[in-house]
């Protein structure tokens, strides 16, 4: 396993973005899946330090196939400070019903699944 160096002035955990963060499943506060973490948005503070501000959801592959990145205004993101744990998946403190990024799922649910009888019932 990769041995990560100690961070010079923190006692916190040092994490490799590629290995432990990117492409991990994101979970909401009830462990329900949101999407996968595809990329990170960084911002530079006044002292010149870079901080992660947001996690970009989704792989961005569809845009990539057409030779572009998704414009910043259309990206599905989650703020960094709602993340509570980094393990096999990324745990957050948000309710998935409040996440805008899941609009496609809601579209399928409202326009297809509920129209079919039995769509809202528990499997029996």
């Amino acid at each position: 396993m990769t041995d990560l160096p100690q961070h010079p002035d923190r006692n916190g955990r040092l994490v490799d973005a590629n290995l432990h963060l990117l492409d991990r499943q994101v979970l909401d506060r009830d462990d329900r899946p949101i999407l996968a973490a595809g990329d990170l948005e960084l911002e530079q503070s006044d002292e010149g330090r870079w901080h992660i501000v947001r996690v970009i959801l989704g792989s961005g592959l569809t845009a990539r196939f057409f030779g572009a990145h998704r414009p910043a205004s259309t990206r599905d993101t989650l703020d960094w400070d709602i993340i509570t744990d980094l393990g096999a998946a990324i745990s957050t403190d948000v309710d998935r019903d409040d996440v805008d990024a899941l609009w496609t799922e809601r579209w399928w649910r409202d326009h297809v699944i509920v129209k079919i009888p039995g769509g809202q019932h528990d499997p029996g």
Binding site: M1, T2, N18, L19
Partner: protein, 148 residues
């Protein structure tokens, strides 16, 4: 551990390995003679139809199962017939092909009778004829392989 994107020079290696494997295996045996294979399939189909009729006559197969088996044999014989007709042969194989076309036409007729009249009193007779057809086809298969 996260893998890097596969290094591009690994792909030709895989292709070479596959080719070497294929060639090495090819050395284990010769590719099969197409005429022989077709006649083998036809013989198998005729035997299969005979078995179905026999077992149905003995009360060991349902009518549905026997009819299915005879129908499958009919399809296989038709495919073999088509392949046989389309094969271009040379030398002694041409004679074998000619004889085979006759035998195949006969066995197609027998299977046709069998499937039209499953459970008839002529079952035993048809079984014998189909078995004879199968034997003839197998003999011709051997002749085809020898004539290569």
């Amino acid at each position: 551990m996260r893998w890097r994107r596969p290094v591009s020079d690994r792909r030709p290696l895989a292709v070479v390995a596959a080719a070497v494997l294929a060639v090495a295996l090819a050395g284990c045996g010769i590719a099969k003679d197409p005429l022989g294979v077709t006649l083998g399939d036809a013989s198998s189909a005729a035997s299969s139809a005979a078995l179905a009729l026999e077992q149905h006559d003995d009360g060991r197969l349902t009518k549905a199962a026997a009819a299915t088996m005879v129908d499958d044999a009919r399809t296989e014989l038709a495919t073999a017939g088509k392949q046989l007709a389309e094969l271009s042969t040379s030398g002694e194989q041409t004679a074998v092909q000619r004889d085979a076309l006759d035998v195949l036409a006969r066995s197609v007729q027998h299977v046709h009778e069998a499937s039209a009249d499953l459970g008839s009193s002529r079952a035993r007779d048809l079984i014998d004829r189909l078995r004879a057809d199968a034997d003839d086809l197998e003999r011709l298969e051997q002749a085809a392989v020898d004539a290569r």
